[in-house]
Amino acid sequence: MNIIDRRPNPKGKSLANRQRFIERAKKEVKDAITDALKKRKLGDVDGGEKVSIPTRGISEPVFRTSSRGGKREQVLPGNKKFISGDQIERPSGGGGGGGRGEASAEDGGEQDAFEFMLSKEEFLDLLFEDLELPNLTKTKLKVSETMQLTRAGYAHEGTPANFSIRRTMRNSMARRISLHRPSPSEIEAMEQELKALEESGDTEGAAKLRLELETAVMRTKRFAYIDPVDVRYNRFDRIPKPNTQAVMFCLMDVSGSMTEAMKDLAKRFFLLLHVFLVRRYKTVDLVFIRHTSNAQEVDEETFFHSRETGGTIVSTALEEMMKVVQARYSPDNWNIYAAQASDGDNYSEDSDRCSQLLGGELLPLTQYFAYIEVGAEATLRHGFPSPPTDLWRTYATIAPQHENFAMRKVADPSQIYPVFHDLFSKDRADA
């Protein structure tokens, strides 16, 4: 008998099969995900997702007998009151009534939905499958300042700190073996043997051995244990590393005109963008800037949940963002992304200042700036769009000159993902 511990064996043997399965059901799974997105809070995006897909594309048909018609007999356990010859009314649901119950239950062919869990990675991969960050090429060229030391083999020269004992000893040993340098234990053995011979009085043998011993000792002196040619040092190269940190600015109007529903829309968009960035960059910092007639940097909780009163001056938020960038996020080291959400209200005198700040100063620094105008549903639903808002008009003048600026209107949670998809779709990134 043999007991083998297989626990250290790699698990996830079915992973490849699982990927194939998801690949096959991709269309259905994607539909299910988009559906799920509409229904649930995006805050849950971090977890996996339970999806339920129709079995159409993934059924494994086999010949099986129909569950209706024909004459069936069956033996069942647990008789309580029947006697031979009893007639029972057929349960509704037609012939069979569980006839051949085993056969139809086993293959599961009659289920019309197949439910399973997607892991977080699978979920996000599918969610963002055909999306790409815009201007990524530029990012790489622009921000590749950080240098990293990487191992790059061995060198003959170097500082003692980089001395490679392992490699040196390897060379030394190879040389010693090839030159037949006697090892200390061999010499010791010869000395002992010599002593034994001398004691036994075998002068002839002793003389011969002594000669051998002398040769051996001479060899050990002639061939050094470690020779300068053995010595090696670890070599390091400095190679430039693409910068993998990003900061995401969330700007939002929190004045009285922004309703909870609007904030919720904005929040969904921000979260989607955040998850998307997290997949791309090692670290993503978040900066929340809210504004009414003045702007301040706040924490996430305050950002989404506290309400302020006052007018609306958008430029204050842009100024605040500029300040934060200058203080903490040098564009040389950080990829800067920004998303602004507003209902479009702005103090009309502020428009010039806004376009100047955004077009002149902020956009050149950022990788991408998205403006989302969250509208009350009524204004967009009736087929007669309300006239463009102040902020929309202002930004619309800047948009054509800047590729890294995008603006969209969103009125309903179900539009969030399509809009997001539209903004970051690969075609666009290539353009």
Partner: protein
């Protein structure tokens, strides 16, 4: 442990383990004790055992590849994995304590989460119960080659991987999908098959690749031949066609075999894929036919062994109770009107029948003597059971050994549900005049050939458009499920490439009740 006091009667020192934790040393000691009972007292004959400890994730993996340790890649295994995983993670379903593989050495997977008591149970159940059944039952001896299966699976996995590289994963997937759909019609039911030999398999596969097309043009040739002869003499042509039909081996019940040998437009690698699925299906065929006996045998063996271990004072009362708790839930049989009812539990019926055989051997009543004169009271329970395990399958086992006592215990009754009649009729119950009828009917329920639709390749339209004609023999007016039949035929046409007609023929009247058709694909 609270039970030590009781055990002190027989002597604490003999107890092999206490507490739930297991380690390899304990496993070994318990294995030796079990082996002693199994071999020397029960007379079991087993393949060498290999016990492998795995984690629950690995158990899920094993589930998904139909319980085999190696398998080629296919999306359907991923689908099963996804389902099992979901059910397991949400707590709808526990995992099996073990999976055992019919191979030599016989591999039993046991989970690390099991307590030592459970490991004891599993060792007795799988490593001796199932193992003995695998080694001795005539179906397994005839149909499967325990020594060669692991090698063959390795070959299959590598071949599929290689085919994917050479011909594209999509093409391979399409072929496998189609072959999988016909898997239950890819077994030889009656003739004996030679044992698998890995070297020959590889050699044959190579030969096939080399002489690919030449060997399989029978159908082309006959088509021309038939046309030629038809013009001269119709009768002679008919004879000719009949001769060729015989040469093609028609009718053929093993659809996959027929496709592998005769499908005109399959590439050699596709034939090999068909062959692989066919072999795997064949490997599982005995298991399908002996599910109830196999589980019954394993359950009976563990029950006996555990009690012997306890009698000898080798396990504590607490361990016995823990094991019996698990045993009881395994052999529970919900009644037909219970929500949990899902057919007759093979563990329950198998165990009950085997336990009853033991009772009949050792302590028969007059009824038992009337029903089972050849072994009632013979005093050799294990010998009688070993004979039954070796020479029967579920159907014949029920027909031969189901006793009135078990029918009464299960309170079995037989009902007839005829779509033409107004009501369901209770035809027989567990009483003197019903026993025989119930036994006969239950045996038929276990007859695979009635369980799975009986479909054969009947003909190929040799003179015409090479349309493949299948026939389904309809018993009791039960037709095929329309939707799934259509889907399978679509799959089949991936392999056959020409039109296919499936006729459902009533077994008594020979009347064609229904026809399904799929046109040729181009």
């Amino acid at each position: 442990m609270p039970d030590t006091k009781l055990n002190s009667i027989v002597g604490d020192d003999k107890i092999l383990f206490t507490g739930p934790e297991w380690d390899f040393e304990k496993l070994r000691v318990v294995y030796d004790a079990i082996e002693d009972i199994a071999i020397n007292e029960m007379g079991l004959d087993v393949y060498p055992n290999q016990i492998e400890v795995i984690t629950s994730e690995q158990m899920l993996d094993a589930y998904a590849s139909v319980g085999l340790p190696l398998m080629y890649r296919h999306w359907s295994f991923g689908k099963h994995f996804a389902r099992e995983e979901t059910l397991y993670r949400r707590g709808y379903q526990g995992l099996a304590y073990e999976i055992v593989i019919n191979s030599s050495p016989c591999i039993s997977y046991i989970m690390e989460e099991n307590s030592m008591a459970m490991q004891t149970l599993v060792t007795a159940h799988a490593a001796f119960g199932h193992n003995h059944f695998f080694k001795n039952n005539f179906l397994f001896r005839q149909w499967t080659d325990a020594g060669g299966i692991l090698d063959y699976l390795t070959f299959a996995r590598d071949f599929v991987a290689h085919a994917e590289e050479s011909y594209g994963a999509d093409e391979v997937e399409r072929t496998l999908d189609a072959a999988h759909a016909l898997m239950s019609h890819g077994v030889h039911r009656y003739t004996r098959r030679p044992k698998l030999n890995l070297f020959e398999e590889q050699q044959r596969e190579q030969d096939r690749r080399q002489f690919a097309e030449e060997n399989f043009d029978d159908i082309w040739r006959t088509a021309q031949l038939a046309q030629a002869t038809a013009s001269i003499d119709e009768k002679a042509a008919e004879r000719e066609i009949a001769a060729i039909r015989q040469k093609l081996g028609l009718p053929e019940e093993n659809i996959l075999y027929f496709l592998e040998k005769r499908a005109p437009r399959l590439a050699p690698w596709q034939r090999e894929l068909v062959r692989i699925t066919r072999h795997i299906s064949q490997y599982f065929y005995p298991q399908k036919q002996t599910k109830m006996m196999n589980e019954g045998c394993a359950t009976f063996v563990h029950y006996e062994i555990i009690h012997r271990l306890h009698e000898k004072g080798l396990i504590s009362d607490g361990t016995l109770l823990e094991i019996m708790h698990s045993h009881t839930s395994v052999v529970s049989q919900p009644e037909f009107d219970d929500q949990r009812y899902n057919g007759i539990n093979p563990y329950a019926l198998g165990f009950a029948m085997m336990n009853d055989i033991k009772r009949i051997c050792l302590n028969p009543t007059q009824e038992d003597r009337d029903w089972f004169p050849d072994f009632a009271g013979n005093g050799d329970a294990y010998g009688t059971l070993r004979y039954a395990w070796a020479n029967f399958r579920d159907e014949s086992f029920v027909l031969q050994y189901l006793s009135p006592r078990v029918m009464r215990d299960f309170r079995m009754f037989k009902m007839i549900d005829d779509a033409e009649a107004d009501a369901i009729v209770i035809d027989a119950i567990h009483e003197e005049r019903g026993y025989k009828e119930i036994r006969r009917s239950l045996a038929r329920q276990y007859d695979l050939s009635r369980h799975e639709p009986d479909i054969q390749v009947r003909d190929v339209d040799l003179a015409g458009d090479r349309c493949l004609v299948l026939s389904h023999t309809v018993h009791d007016g039960i037709l095929l499920d329309e939707g799934s039949a259509r889907a399978v035929l679509e799959n089949l046409s991936q392999l056959w490439h020409y039109g296919i007609r499936l006729e459902e023929v009533d077994v008594t009247t020979d009347r064609v009740l229904k026809t399904h058709e799929v046109s040729a694909r181009h």
